[in-house]
Symmetry: C2
Subunit: 465 residues, 2 copies
């Protein structure tokens, strides 16, 4: 598919350059809005409005919401008031609110002027909800039925109002007075039901709803858990105010996963795709973490400094420092990343902490012993016997191998225990568990592994140092 | 919501222990299948079949598909043939195939015996498709219309057959002869259309379809890009064979993201949730990578060994090794993780490689210079002036700070360039880009940073070594 889009981009660009606008239109009307938007990303700003105006009204609005905010802004600036009105009229409230949020203030007032008063009020209400809340991603265009309607009346209501709704696949049932949500009924149930039955008879009442202030990540999880295609949003009094549809839930999932992955890799999340993000913005999202981690690496440096004299006597010990630190860091991040993902998916909760610790304790023993045996053997056979990098004194060589092996076991144990408890503790006290991933854990584990290394070394080889 | 499930679990467990089965049933029928399945995970194996039998037939089947495969297996073993038949009859083909795939051979033949011949044939066909292909996740229960049907006839057809379909929200239009896919029509369009219009008049023809062998990850991306709730699956001759629904696409997304995250953290992906995975399985998914990375860390050890004599003369250099290696590794993994996620989301492709490299080059210069200035200043002011960890010779101290600073710039540059090119090259040659994430890159960057460090040190401070 990606290749197809690229091919289409080349074709359209060539046709636009040749000013074959009729052909461009004929090609575009056969395409999906998302594909047209992708193709238009490569059209030069000067001709973009010309090409966009070729689209029929409805397709134009559908394409508009799929475009990057740069292109949206460019088009709004080029639009006449009546053109802007035509696009705004076709938008759903959630999309309109998203667009308004991205635009500079002078364009916002132009856009809102073109919306009719009721729509303007709806957009303003959505904008008032906190970022990343259900209220901010919901739309208000849903089908609203009442329990005492007959199936025939409900179907007539849907036929009359359905064209403006974001979905008719699930209809919501509210009390006539007070708009309290009492149930939901799928279009399939309505179609297959007896025409004289009432909506109250056939509706499902065990429905999943969320409050306007619910966090969007939790909502996405509910979609996945309950296999929903839309979810009702209610206010504090259980009055229906809107719906979130599955396509928006999928966008949220992707956004939240990207954020988690970025935080785990020590990057401040940005909300734009990489190629659209400026070099300064990328730098700003990375440098604070690099500086922070550099400062923490100072501690490991201080630890090494304080053992400088020991290392000068037994320089062979220095060679194993990177391996010990890397293995510790890797062991820890394997665990922390697994736990963080489990928390995100709702598989692991804080109350599982002791089960998790017991599991990681056993895994760490298996991994630690296995690594220790392999490393000690390798040090003796390859490093010392084959390459001759040892001390030249075989009893001493055996002791060095033992020091490294014991250090590995302790380090892996510590790394895995830190790796599983920190994310769960972070979650418990309301922090993002993803922050507790590899770079953070690596820094702690680095210090731990060095301290263990020197402690074990002086315990076993004290007489040589 | 998680707390609610936990509370329900306690309530149901208490009621089951008190053998208040009528109350258990009354509570369960008010719940969602996914919640019932979650609650049943905590019921002891001995009473699970008893509790499950309390559920009405349809709810029982819906709950069954939401359960862990352990519980499914346990129930199938406890079922009589007629109970098994009742559950199998209510399943959709894709769910049935998923269950069959998880069960031991003797149970599979029992399950298939209870399916009617046509359903058995469908299940077997789905099982024949390669794992992770469209064919393996599709279902065959979709609404099939023909272009010459009138809207009235189509609606009558849907009313007659809709109850057994996984979704009726989108109906697919195929040629009467040959079953070639020619269009799709939503139930909304049908409801709002003139009753005498034909399906051919109102259907959309620019539809997105996938072949049976298409990779499931690509399918999930299409759902996100085109905001779909179902997608048709066709064979090599564009004949319609099934549909993938959005709930399955969401499951695939979560699975693929988990896999990506695990691979990036150097873990072989397992297909079960963490708490259900055995200690041995977790160990097996982690230890090969730890061993591999330990072996590669040997190279960094060898590099240090070969500069042992230089380090013995200027031991102050040793203290900065962890910081240089950590910063290099962190810089590299920031970039690689960003690029890997961009590739997964379809934002970055191989043809963008030069744009990406140019961007990372500029970011690396900004980050490198910034880190170098801060570190050199910190080394001089804190380490040497404040803590007195320097060489005691100030011109020498300045040179050490310069060596560290220059090394940082070169290392960050190398790390970011390696971090952006490796994932794109992996993708190009058909490997999983996620393999090229932090641990792999860290190992390469560790070696690079040490070589750079010693090269810079001997260039600047050669006379002291």
């Amino acid at each position: 598919m990606a290749e197809m889009t690229a091919m289409m981009q080349d074709t359209i660009t060539a046709l636009v350059e040749a000013r074959k606008y009729n052909t461009v239109r004929d090609v575009m009307v056969t395409m999906n809005p998302a594909d047209i938007a992708a193709v238009l990303e490569d059209v030069s700003p000067a001709v973009l409005p010309v090409v966009f105006r070729l689209l029929p009204k409805e397709l134009a609005a559908e394409t508009f919401v799929e475009m990057s905010s740069e292109n949206e802004e460019l088009l709004i600036r080029a639009f006449s008031d009546s053109e802007l009105k035509a696009v705004v009229e076709e938008l759903y409230a959630d999309d309109a609110a998203d667009i308004v949020e991205e635009m500079p203030a002078n364009l916002v007032s132009r856009i809102l002027q073109q919306a009719d008063p009721a729509f303007r009020k709806t957009i303003n209400e959505i904008l008032k909800y906190p970022e990343d809340s259900a209220g901010s991603i919901m739309t208000t265009e849903y089908v609203d039925l009442h329990p005492d309607m007959t199936v025939t009346a409900a179907m007539a209501h849907i036929r009359r109002t359905g064209v403006d709704k974001e979905t008719i696949n699930t209809c919501y049932v509210t009390e006539k007075k007070g708009r309290r949500l009492v149930g939901a009924v799928s279009i399939r149930t309505l179609l297959l039901a007896d025409e004289d039955a009432t909506v109250g008879d056939i509706m499902k009442t065990n429905i999943v709803s969320v409050s306007t202030l619910e966090d969007q990540e939790a909502i996405a999880q509910l979609f996945s858990k309950y296999d929903l295609i839309a979810m009702p949003v209610v206010d504090g009094e259980n009055r229906m105010v809107g719906i979130v549809t599955v396509d928006d839930a999928i966008d949220v999932m992707e956004e939240e996963v990207t954020e988690d992955i970025e935080v785990m890799a020590a990057i401040t999340p940005t909300d734009k795709p990489y190629l659209q993000t400026s070099v300064w913005r990328i730098w700003a999202s990375r440098i604070p973490w690099l500086l922070l981690m550099m400062v923490s690496a100072t501690f490991t440096g201080l630890i090494i400094s304080s053992f400088e004299s020991a290392l000068a006597v037994l320089p062979v010990l220095t060679a194993f420092i990177p391996m010990l630190m890397d293995t510790g860091g890797n062991s820890g991040s394997q665990t922390s990343v697994t736990i963080i993902r489990g928390i995100s998916l709702g598989d692991i909760e804080f109350r599982d902490i002791f089960r998790v610790m017991w599991k990681e304790f056993r895994v760490s023993m298996l991994c630690g012993v296995c690594l220790a045996v392999c490393t000690s053997a390798k040090i003796l056979l390859v490093d010392f016997l084959l390459l001759g990098n040892g001390t030249g004194n075989w009893p001493e060589n055996f002791l060095v191998a033992a020091v490294v092996g014991v250090t590995l076991i302790v380090t892996v144990f510590a790394a895995k225990l830190i790796g599983c408890t920190l994310p769960l503790l972070a979650k418990k006290i309301g922090f993002d568990p993803a922050v507790m991933a590899s770079p953070f854990i690596t820094t702690i584990v680095d210090a731990v592994s060095l301290l263990v290394y020197f402690a074990v070394a002086s315990a076993i080889m004290g007489s040589y140092m």
